[in-house]
């Protein structure tokens, strides 16, 4: 498969995947979609994964982990962790992003994070051999700050020229009590479907016009900061391709991929 751009973007969930794995539901179509995506990326020759984890929320500035190696930890309380995913870092690329951020007056900082469950779980399916180095990034600031940092990251990654997967880890709507009471709410499902529709039409920026109360009700991961970084990297009008749009009793599994080429096996 020919992929022209040197950047590929994707947003994937993590907690539902973890639960699916815990429940030995290895046949989940979401897990299959992750595996397929990983195989496509391997075939393409991906050299690094820049992974934005919505669980790494920093107050003062954006953080970059430039470690040589990332040991996995299981930091999802309430779910027993079996997942281990140790992977190399990419200090050279991390430092390049740091310099670009300083030059753009974004002033990112270096911090140690690790491959926590948000990173480890999807990557276990995408790159089970752990052979693609990663650069973890935090989320921070406002949507505008995130979009601005995303633009800088995108420009820098393009000039770097290596093949990069820009991976954002996080679901859209979330409801922590859903596992214990009445399951997924129609409000959450409708919200997710709206986001999927907007992203697939290249209208992700219209998220800005959504009613604030509605957003507060469904509590999207890190208030879409990771998603706005992705839109900055890939271009705000880039259409997303729906790789998976699974609705299970414990949550929605949405995988949206952004690329410069039109994949043949998309769902829309």
């Amino acid at each position: 498969m020919k992929i022209e751009s040197n950047i590929h973007g994707i947003i994937v969930p993590h907690i539902p995947i973890l639960l699916a794995k815990e429940m030995n539901d290895q046949s989940s179509s979401t897990i299959k979609a992750l595996r397929d995506c990983g195989m496509r990326m391997q075939e393409w020759g991906v050299e690094a994964v820049v992974a934005v984890t919505t669980h790494w929320q920093t107050k003062e500035s954006f953080f970059i982990d430039n470690s040589l190696h990332h040991e996995s930890i299981m930091d999802n309380s309430g779910v027993q962790g079996k997942s281990k995913y140790s992977v190399a870092g990419h200090p050279e690329l991390a430092n390049l992003l740091l310099q670009a951020g300083e030059k753009s007056l974004i002033y990112p900082s270096i911090g140690k994070y690790c491959a926590n469950h948000t990173i480890a779980i999807p990557l276990q399916f995408m790159f089970p051999e752990g052979n693609i180095p990663i650069v973890p990034l935090s989320v921070s600031g406002s949507m505008l700050c995130a979009f601005r940092w995303g633009r800088t990251l995108g420009n820098t990654l393009r000039s770097w020229r290596g093949k990069v997967l820009f991976l954002v880890l996080g679901a859209f709507s979330q409801r922590h009590a859903r596992f214990m009471d009445d399951g997924w709410l129609i409000e959450h499902e409708n919200f997710d479907q709206l986001i999927v529709k907007l992203l697939s039409e290249g209208k992700g920026m219209e998220l800005l016009t959504l009613d604030q109360e509605r957003i507060e009700n469904v509590k999207p991961k890190s208030a879409f900061l990771g998603l706005f970084m992705l839109l900055g990297v890939m271009g705000s009008e880039s259409p997303g391709y729906i790789r998976e749009n699974e609705h299970l009793s414990y949550g929605g599994m949405r995988i949206i991929e952004f690329t410069d080429f039109q994949p043949s096996n998309v769902l829309h």
Binding site: S104, L105, R148, R151, T209
Partner: protein, 211 residues
């Protein structure tokens, strides 16, 4: 311009002149980012160019703040520099023959999303009307459009807008007057909105409540 802007501007300049450049620029970005993004988006009509222009503004401020002599307010000086950067972006873009249109359906990019504080139907109607006004403004000649954006949309006073564009206040008043007349003319003749061609031509009847 509110009092807080003046106080923060003083702090920005004080930190900068004391050599704490990073602190000054962080404060500047925190203070001006959302408003300047609103300006660049209104001037350029899409998010990617608006953000690239905003980034260029910050780089230029970083380079030029030491030359700021205080002959005007920092606010006016920044808006003048920002407007020039947007003009240059537009020139570059016209050379590559790209279309300059507003994204459909967006009214106040990146600004905080407000809770509905009135009847939802009324709120939708208001937003829709704002959208149509912005679409009509895009049909104006550049010199008129920038004044309407600075004065009528960004809320700058006529003297501030005039200072930004290096024209005198009377000329600015006259240009705003002509721009409003031209806008009425565009609306009365009717106009087509990009992405909404199927809806047909918008006329004064559609936007009579807008102005």
């Amino acid at each position: 311009m509110d009092e807080n802007v003046n106080l923060t501007d003083e702090e920005i300049l004080r930190f900068f002149n004391e050599g704490d450049k990073e602190r000054a620029l962080k404060l500047f970005i925190n203070q001006y980012q959302a408003r300047l993004y609103s300006l660049t988006y209104r001037m350029l009509g899409n998010h990617d160019d608006a953000m690239d222009a905003l980034q260029e503004i910050f780089i230029q401020i970083n380079r030029s703040l030491q030359t700021f002599k205080g002959r005007s307010s920092l606010y006016t000086w920044v808006y003048r520099l920002s407007s020039n950067i947007c003009f240059n972006f537009r020139k570059k873009r016209s050379k590559t023959n790209r279309q300059m249109e507003w994204d459909e359906g967006l009214q106040s990019a990146m600004l905080p999303i407000e809770r509905p504080n009135e009847d939802p139907d009324t709120m939708c109607e208001t937003k829709y009307n704002q959208f149509l006004v912005q679409q009509a403004i895009l049909k104006l000649p550049e010199t008129q459009r920038v004044l309407l954006i600075l004065h009528d949309l960004e809320g700058l006073s006529v003297p501030d807008a005039a200072s930004i564009l290096n024209i005198n206040t009377n000329a600015a008043k006259s240009r705003i007057h002509r721009a409003r007349a031209a806008l009425r003319n565009i609306i009365s003749k009717g106009f087509v909105v990009k992405g909404m061609e199927g809806v047909g031509v918008f006329t004064s009847e559609d936007v009579s409540k807008m102005i």
